[in-house]
Amino acid sequence: MSAEPSPQSPWQAATITRIEKRTPRVTSFWFRPSRPFAHLAGQHVDVRLTAPDGYQARRSYSIASAPEAGGGVELAIERLDDGEVSPFFHDVAAVGDEIELRGPLGGHFIWEESDGGPILLVGGGSGVVPLMAMVRHRTLRNKAVPVALVFSARLWDEVIFRDELIGLDDRRDGFDLVLTLTREPARRPSDYSRRVDARMMAQAIERLPKAPRLAYVCGSNAFVSAAADALIGAGVPAGIIRTERYGV
């Protein structure tokens, strides 16, 4: 009599190894999974919290770290005041805590070297997180792929990963950063101070050596709708635009 091996639960404990505030509302958490996994740039994990009475809450969070980055899996979590999971992370979670994760997940909003380029990335607020994994992946692996990132934030101080992105932009190695602030004047000469529109997208595309092979848009539903319409207005075929919408 040999028992069938029971399938391993897709959930695993991951230890928080580092916490770093990124902006007033976004904090990064690094996790060391007990069973390390290889993810693709753009993928997410599911996180599950369990209360003493068995009640569970789960949410999906995009991975910000590059697949080849050491130091664990980085999730950049925006605090939603009326949420139940993000306030737990911001107010309670501490280095050394164990959290259940499942992943990596997602097979559509991903970019791999084999997909080629140029690629155009358009992020609104915390929608930049999976795009950051793509930018970092390109930096660590394949600088030959031209990438333009249009990142819309309300305020200069809400630009997540700001110093890192500007540092990458300053290298002039085929990565172009376009910031647009919707509630403040632009700080850099090439940046904008308005909501994304077709003209902005057309100008971002001009920064690429040729038309993008793929475009990735991530953010709130309203942002993604506006950005996808702007891309189509700039002549980008709908069929090469991949979207990921956060929340309502």
């Binding site: 009640y55 737990f88 309670v92 805590d97 097979g107 539903n221 069929g239 635009i241 919408r245």
Partner: protein, 203 residues
């Protein structure tokens, strides 16, 4: 595994608890999720085709389709991204009535729902008939907005909501259970919320 410092602040009231599948939370809004830009399909360009494999069985234009018998369904819906929304009111044409108008019985055990933007999703035929599913034309009594899949979307409320294909323009009966868009990208072939069949590795 109990999470240090996490308590049941949001446990739903017990009278609704039984309506929320495992791992889901109650959402008051109506989040929008899609894999690409929102197609804006004009009703004058709209059509709905019933197919067996590549062969069309019957095709309706917008006016013809709207003239079919219409029914109402008010149901709880469950998105794989973990939100559940109660009592969503829809009106449209039951799949049973589409088949009756075409004068056919379902020819195969499996179906692919097809959409204007190239999306597809697989549903066993038995999950579409006997009052279980419709092609919805109205939400809360009004035309369905493009973001939510209008002019028409499939409604299969007892499965995770990605099975309720937005911008639907046809059903294709297939001999085998063929994976659609998300099913090819890591999501479950069937997608029963009560058995938490979210991802392909879920039993």
């Amino acid at each position: 595994m109990v999470t240090r410092g996490f308590f049941s602040g949001r446990r739903p009231p017990s009278d609704t608890d039984a309506r929320i599948p495992p791992g889901q939370y109650l959402e008051q809004g109506f989040p929008v999720l899609s894999a690409g830009p929102t197609p804006r399909v004009r009703t004058e360009d709209w059509s709905f085709t019933l197919k067996q494999g590549p062969n069309p069985l019957k095709k309706w234009n917008w006016a013809e389709f709207n003239a079919l018998p219409q029914s109402k369904m008010t149901r709880d819906i469950h998105c794989v991204t973990a939100w559940t929304k109660f009592n969503t009111p829809w009106q449209g044409v039951m799949i049973d009535d589409i088949l009756a108008d075409a004068g056919i019985e379902p020819p195969t055990a499996y179906t692919l729902a097809l959409s204007f933007d190239g999306y597809s999703t697989n549903v066993p035929t038995k999950d579409l008939v006997a009052g279980k599913a419709m092609v919805a034309l109205l939400y809360e009594g009004k035309p369905i907005t493009p973001d939510h899949g209008g002019p028409a979307r499939l409604l299969v409320p007892h499965l995770y909501f990605w099975k309720s294909a937005k911008w639907v323009n046809g059903l294709q009966f297939t001999e085998r259970d063929e994976p659609g868009f998300w099913e090819l990208r890591g999501y479950h072939m069937y997608g029963d919320p009560w058995r938490e069949q979210r991802y392909s590795s879920d039993p």
